[in-house]
Symmetry: C2
Subunit: 231 residues, 2 copies
Amino acid sequence: MKNLAPPEKRVDGPSQRGQFKKRASILEAAADVFCRQGFAGASIDEIAVEANVSRQTIYNHYCEKETLFVAVVDDVLKRANSMIFSMLATFPVNADNLEEDLVAFAIRINKNCICNQDGKFLRRLVQNEGERYPHLFETWRQQGPGRIISALGALFARLSASGALKIEDFDVAARQFLALGNADLQIMMLFGQTPSDEQLESAARNAVRTFLRAYGTATSPERPDLAAVSG
Amino acid sequence: MKNLAPPEKRVDGPSQRGQFKKRASILEAAADVFCRQGFAGASIDEIAVEANVSRQTIYNHYCEKETLFVAVVDDVLKRANSMIFSMLATFPVNADNLEEDLVAFAIRINKNCICNQDGKFLRRLVQNEGERYPHLFETWRQQGPGRIISALGALFARLSASGALKIEDFDVAARQFLALGNADLQIMMLFGQTPSDEQLESAARNAVRTFLRAYGTATSPERPDLAAVSG
DNA sequence: GACGTTTTAGACAACACTGTCTAATTTTAC
DNA sequence: GTAAAATTAGACAGTGTTGTCTAAAACGTC
């Protein structure tokens, strides 16, 4: 890590006029290798081979290994953030068919945000390098998860206001919804495995059933005989 | 990684007659450094300094870096396993004061198994090196989480049989209990932070309240007016 | 086709790390 | 106190990596 980069060498490298494909290829390969090997274990040569690019080209675009790393993290963070908010936009609006809609929503979140390559990469990277390079994730840490939970909480608030759910703390409910959605997948994901569609569906069903038992109003059909027991 | 270690060099090193303190000191320092830097990023010299030991001593006890790594993983896995099962032994037996007992249980699990140093180490290690050194975690992967969930599930089954809970799938309930317990702590833990006692308690309360709403029978006091709404 | 830019392969120095060796020193057992 | 065992500091070769440099080749644009 050089503290003083020579000012005549631009950090941003070529690409003013094109060669976007090279950059994209490097970013993708670097994400792969950094994810597999970690920052310390990743070698520029390995990235170059995987990107079908010469090592020098990497140094032309990103003057240091750390510059490349920062660019990869930025890229993945941006993509993951836009993905999660586009998924939040598919949250069910009305409450007819709520259970099925929530199941489908949970599947989408898990499949496209948590269990995909970007999700895996982010979990690893944050966990490994978050303490070593706090500045990389600081803004995401302060805004990312908090804003996601707030947004999801607001969606649950809407359902709660319409009487479909009965929730006191919307943010807690949002966190619990996500946590329940991962409950059956966490161990797989810890080992880097990707769940099958069947596993995704089963996990989502288990999660939503429990969530609706806790927060659903009486119209939820899936709580067979609690009223009978309580009455 | 040498494939053929000279047979006259014992893998287990000295310690037949004592020097346990050195070994323990090395193991502890190595766990620390491996956890912070990963396998590739950790240097033997750094471990030696942190253990207050010369580098040669490390090589005397563990002939290769990988041997040391394996020993550290074994050590942590054994300790974590024994801790989790000793915590499971404190699961509430009877159902009077169930909510408070479950809260205390969740706090104990989180504090002593999930949020402590060993838990952090294991999460990192499994996630990072689990694919590269599958043999290290294979037996734990097959037996560890599965047996933990089964054991916790059996405890919930006991409460269910006594009528205090109403659960269909005990293993699912066990996973959900643990997932709910982590719901409020996951982001902190991802960044390597350790929750305060207040945060631990609040997280456990939120988790148990929701869990009991989903699985509790009518005797649970904390579901204020579902019956009224449903009636 | 010509020109400026980008890419490439390869060589290169500087550095860090692993694992070995040795000889001196300290610790431990008896 | 003595002898065996363990530890230490330091030097060392071998290796891999980063980042630089150069000259040739490929590319894109006009």
